[in-house]
């Protein structure tokens, strides 16, 4: 069921809507832009983040005159869960050189959905390394392409070095139902985590 969009289109359905941050990450070209476009109720946006040449995030405008800063465009989408709550999806590059941006963006996030492509699993190693280091809770969604090879789940878990309780689901980033399922797998995983876990 699709709820009626805000009459103004771009604005929050209600000014008191609670906003929850969810990270969508994974290697370059894995489908982050596509899944955010599929899930978002607003036309997908690009947020601009200023970084220094060494990868630090510029959270104020010191150094903006410095030519060593660079701007990164990140995919962003929003999905309302009723009128009182919305998930804000922040597409975050999964490469190590964006490490500082990752740290900054993941602050306050509910969790992360990590996309992987079975045709090039090794591309996911960098993002898996970063997420482990950050301690942010996550689920992995395999974005299935028509020519994706089908591997046994155990082999994929081993290749991605996933703990047994980390959800590993398949989705088609172009398809709303399977993409929503991937988010649901993440939320259910977060709910089921032991309350005092400090991993």
């Amino acid at each position: 069921m699709v709820s009626a969009p805000s009459s103004r289109g771009i604005h929050l359905r209600n000014p008191d809507q609670e906003l929850v941050k969810v990270i969508v990450s994974g290697p370059f070209g894995v489908g982050k832009t596509t899944i955010i476009r599929t899930l978002s109720e607003i036309p997908p946006l690009k947020t601009e983040e200023v970084m220094t040449a060494t990868g630090a995030v510029v959270d104020h405008l010191h150094g903006v005159r410095d030519k060593t800063t660079t701007t990164v465009g990140l995919d962003y989408g929003r999905i309302s869960l009723g009128d009182d709550l919305a998930l804000c999806l922040f597409g975050t590059p999964g490469q190590k050189r964006f490490h500082a941006l990752w740290q900054d963006l993941t602050r306050g996030a509910l969790g992360a959905l990590i996309l992987a492509d079975t045709r090039r699993i090794a591309d996911s190693y960098e993002v898996m390394g970063m997420i482990e280091e950050q301690g942010i809770k996550y689920a992995v969604a395999l974005n299935e392409f028509p020519d994706s090879p089908a591997y046994p789940e155990d082999d994929l878990r081993q290749a991605l070095d996933l703990s047994p309780d980390t959800p590993l689901v398949a989705c088609d980033a172009r398809d709303r139902t399977t993409s929503l399922n991937a988010l649901l797998a993440l939320a259910e995983h977060l709910l089921n985590l032991p309350a005092m876990e400090q991993s």
């Binding site: 604005h11 209600n14 947020t47 510029v58 509910l110």
Partner: protein
């Protein structure tokens, strides 16, 4: 697109830091006035225009205006100081703790309802 033609530090009058450090990408912004005063800067005017009579998270204002998030933090902070903007912290920001069970249950119910 609304590409900026002049660098952000010109628009902020050379100031580089927001006066408030509490502004987050998901801080919700709303105009505090119905009519935009004539003496606001062009950038501030654009922030108030995009908000109209609705509310938007700071990151979305920045994206709509094609301005860096860090720059919009400065603008928003200035607008708050002038009494022209109301900000609300993201209520569900999860910091160094297990997410609230009730919140997660609401997220799960909400996602299921969309399927």
């Amino acid at each position: 697109m609304n590409r900026r033609l002049i660098p952000p530090y010109v628009w902020t009058g050379g100031r580089t830091r927001p006066t408030r450090n509490v502004l987050d990408r998901l801080t919700v912004l709303r105009a505090a006035v119905e009519t935009i005063p004539a003496d606001v800067s062009p950038a501030e005017q654009r922030v108030l225009e995009i908000l109209g009579d609705g509310a938007l998270p700071l990151a979305e204002v920045a994206a709509h205006l094609s301005l860096p998030v860090s720059f919009v933090k400065v603008l928003a902070s200035d607008l708050v100081d002038q009494g022209l903007l109301i900000v609300r912290a993201p209520a569900a920001l999860i910091l160094d703790e297990q997410p609230d069970t009730q919140l997660l249950e609401r997220v799960i119910r909400g996602l299921r309802a969309l399927q």
